[in-house]
């Protein structure tokens, strides 16, 4: 009666999750080459050979993390609906992307590391799925602009700006907190700031 597609014992399932969580922690901070199986095994609370019982190699652990990451990362953009109210749809996207950065900062840094290094393990996905989705949504944005429902601006760079502004709070978290000092909630403040920014940028021009 188990609904799991690939039957694994609870122990296997649990240890795989422990390893992937530990790997996310280490890879996101050190990059692929900078991370070591020793570090990952220690964070996971397993021995190194035991880790290699679950994954055949370091590369495979990394691949398991990247697989699906891009999808998760792009879901908020997919949800932007051409039939909805333009400004509300865009602000909803910004909101979802910022929430993702707040709730999954390690995933954001893993992605940032991969791109910084020239996307050696994600090039294909970026030139394929990512590009197609952005092109599609850029057409939606362009249509809204031509209908006069939002102000005109380069639609692709608009998407870039949403990525840059939201991911900055996850990837540069250390810097953001150091500059703000204690007693601040960076993501809460960012939410208000970004709402102001995109409202003023996109408000239909008189």
């Amino acid at each position: 009666m188990s609904p799991t597609a690939r039957p694994r014992s609870r122990i296997q399932q649990r240890n795989r999750e422990l390893i992937l969580d530990a790997a996310l922690e280490v890879f996101s901070l050190q990059g692929f080459r900078g991370a070591t199986l020793d570090q990952i095994a220690e964070v996971a609370g397993l021995s190194k050979p035991n880790l290699l019982y679950y994954f055949p190699s370091k590369e495979e652990v990394h691949t398991a993390l990247l697989t699906g990451l891009l999808d998760t990362w792009l879901d908020p953009l997919r949800e932007m609906d051409a039939q909805g109210e333009p400004l509300a749809e865009i602000m909803g996207y910004v909101r979802r992307k910022l929430d993702l950065a707040r709730d999954f900062p390690r995933e954001s840094r893993l992605f940032a590391n991969e791109i910084l290094q020239g996307a050696p393990r994600m090039r294909e996905a970026i030139e394929g799925d990512l590009r197609r989705l952005v092109d599609e949504k850029a057409r939606v944005l362009t249509a809204w602009m031509e209908e006069g429902r939002i102000a005109r601006v380069d639609p692709v760079h608009l998407v870039f700006s949403i990525w840059a502004l939201t991911q900055h709070y996850a990837d540069f978290d250390v810097q953001v907190r150091a500059v703000l000092g204690p007693g601040h909630d960076p993501f809460a403040e960012a939410g208000g700031f970004l709402e102001t920014l995109f409202t003023r940028l996109l408000a239909p021009q008189g």
Copy 2:
């Protein structure tokens, strides 16, 4: 007729520059731990022992790169003049920061790597010099807002947004070019987009 005063010094100077340039190339793509002296030596066109003749350790090469990097990175903000015309001063800052990202993408990625990893070798500078400068300029921005010369917005997050939007084009260059496709000049387009963005964000409200 002028005899070379210190010929050895000139060779040293040249090789040090070769090494630092190669190290910038490798560290900016691989991070500190991911980079190897072999890679750096090969890019520099020297042997590994010869590299270590000029710098006593891998750590010293990295430190030599980071020293002064923050200053270079903050100079454009330092130049923002409280006595100038507010919008022109801010746009000048955006322009200078974007030019820096375009002309020194490796330095930008080196910095990004350092922050992503939790700023283990720059924490002090970030909590000190960086924070002080941002606080100072935030007061300038706040004064301009209170005088009604630019629209109100959180001044520190305004600075964050300038960093995020300009550095994105250097750090995520691979992704930007993959999405735009051939026949684009990302930095030229970004210049126009950012001018529009900050003009609309900061135009004094009616």
